[in-house]
Amino acid sequence: MAVTDYLRERFFPHMWCPGCGHGTVLNSLLRAIEELGLNKNNIVMTSGIGCSARISGYVDFHSLHTIHGRALAFATGVKLSKPGLKLLVPMGDGDALAIGGNHFIHAARRNIDITAIIMNNRIYGMTGGQFSPLSGPGKKATTAPYLTIDREFDIVELAKAAGATFVARSTTYHAKESIEFLKKAIDHKGFSVVEILSQCPTHYGRKNKEGDAPQMLENYRNNTAKIGSKALADDPSLIARGIFVDVERPEYCQEYDQIIERAMKE
């Protein structure tokens, strides 16, 4: 199948700004699904609110566009009630880790078989460029005219600590790598997290003088390095890319099946 077979083409061109990385994440995600040969009827995409969340309207899966920050909670209900379904939950950084931070760590703790894709553009785009918990200090935003003083989360470390059993990071520049990580994440039995650095040239890029979309991608190329690489060893200030966690642990729905078995015996 072609990638367009997974799209609701009637809604294209999409609503994202020119050069927005979210389109590339959608692109990579569809290729991963295509390569895995998944059945469209078997996929539920759940999203929250924000630029990122509009992704669920564009895919020809069961799509659940919910409320801000709660996509993982909705997805947990879908998954536990029908564990045969594949749950894909793309979220923005604010959606996933500010308002939705609690659901994120608890979904990870349960190790429920859901794939969380965090499209990290380090800003609230839909509302016009306010800083997010991923912006980090010293950044300009409409709510930080004198620069941010908030420290940022490290999504990989947060996901690891919370108990996610698959954790990876890539960027929209590294599309092939993203596809590879997404494939592995979707295939993984348990809670998987893929952070994809995704440029927002309209707000973040413009306010922080990072240039247009190609320049921001250039930065992703220059400022990141694969884990285990010489480049990263030489310059630890680079952002690490790669698969950070890939372990087996009991999955929540499977564990619950055992509860049902025990309850039925007693």
């Binding site: 309207g57 709660r70 909705f74």
Partner: protein, 382 residues
């Protein structure tokens, strides 16, 4: 066959009703005084292959049951005061996306933390107006365990019939009181199951296009019809729309689908109402005291009756007007500052004869509390 008789809490009667109605999925978070509902279902659901999950918070619980409902399951959550506040945004989502679900709110004192272990009926208005935007909602209540059981079954049935969240407004006194429940046999009470679309695979399915009878057949997630569910204004396919005609029709539908069925939704009971000159209009645990008083006064020859509402929203205005028309005075007996009384005053022709008999101090309103006020109204002194 002899019927099974149980001695249990109101919260447990609610659980029995939910199981009878076919609940398959529960998500919740511990909160007094509703916790027993979660505790009971954590054991009872898996016994029959159902699922229970304790979520990280109240909001997540509400979201999880909405997700589960979309896979075709009958779903429920239970909460109290502060938890009910937290759930409001997701309840609004379920209204907008028309997702069947039942929310039991075992009311306690408020606002804020109030008093978790004391009784109140202060969430009447929140059940109706808690979420933003125009919509309609169904809220049911009951005063004894037999009725808690059957009204819980009704709640599930109405959620399915009207594709809407239904709120069960229980209260601490009923929830924690222990009394008898005679368990209805299978088939004794009607059960409404999920109406699924008959549109075959490959044919365009409209999840938000009502049939002639107003019902909207659903398609389970994982089935052949891949559609969109959103809290945005949406068209009949569930896709976002800004078309004024589409938006107008959607919002009117959300209100009308319940208003137009108010007769079918209305639940009430009459106690000693024959020729009643004074009517005690009440609901939930307050109604127990009202009934007790009416029973005693009737025995003494006073014409006092009780109109017990079991459906609060949509407010049964016509019923109330009709039943209260001949009364000398109507005392609305409730444990809040007159939330139902305000509705009654709007419903009747002579609002001047409507009085409030209330208690808001965390104590159950007693028959003598009501009697004192009644004596004043009757002109018999304090």
């Amino acid at each position: 066959m002899t019927k099974q008789i149980m001695f249990l809490q109101g919260n447990e009667a609610c659980v029995e009703g939910a199981l009878y109605a076919g609940v398959e999925f529960f998500a919740g978070y511990p909160i007094t005084p509703s916790t027993e509902i979660a505790e009971q279902l954590s054991g009872r659901l898996p016994e029959r292959g159902g699922k229970f999950i304790q979520m990280e918070d109240e909001i997540a619980s509400m979201c999880a049951i909405i997700g589960a409902s979309l896979t075709g399951k009958k779903v429920m959550t239970a909460t109290s005061g502060p938890g009910f506040s937290l759930k409001q945004e997701a309840i609004g989502y379920a209204c907008m996306a028309e997702i069947p679900c039942v929310i039991a709110n075992v009311q306690r004192g408020g606002p804020s933390t109030g008093n978790p272990t004391h009784v109140s009926q202060g969430d009447i208005n929140q059940a109706r107006w808690g979420t933003h935007g125009d919509h309609n909602i169904i809220a049911l209540t009951a005063s004894n365990h037999q009725d808690v059981f059957s009204i819980t079954v009704d709640a599930f049935n109405m959620a399915e019939t009207y594709r809407t969240p239904v709120i069960l407004l229980l209260d601490e006194a009923v929830g924690h009181l222990r009394e008898k429940l005679i368990l209805p046999e299978k088939g004794e009470l009607p059960i409404v199951d999920r109406l699924r679309t008959s549109v075959p695979k490959g044919v365009d399915y409209h999840p938000y296009l009502p049939r002639e009878d107003g019902r909207l057949p659903m398609s389970d997630f994982g089935g052949d019809h891949r559609y969109n569910v959103t809290g945005l204004f949406h068209d009949m396919w569930g896709f976002p729309s800004n078309n004024p005609k589409v938006v107008n029709e959607l919002l009117r539908h959300l209100v009308d689908k319940i208003d137009n069925n108010i007769r079918a939704i209305t639940r009430y009971k009459e106690h000693y109402m024959e020729g009643a000159e004074y009517i005690l209009l009440s609901y939930g645990s307050s109604a127990r005291s009202a009934i007790h008083l009416a029973q005693n006064r009737r025995a003494k020859g006073e014409k006092i009756g009780v109109l017990e509402l079991q459906s609060i929203w949509p407010f049964p205005s016509e019923l109330v007007r009709e039943k209260c028309a001949g009364a000398k005075a109507v005392l609305v007996v409730e444990m809040n500052m007159g939330q139902v009384m305000a509705q009654v005053k709007m419903a009747v022709d002579e609002p001047g004869k409507i009085f409030l008999a209330n208690r808001i101090d965390g104590k159950l309103i007693t028959p003598s509390d009501i009697k004192q006020l009644l004596r004043v109204i009757q002109g018999r002194g304090v």
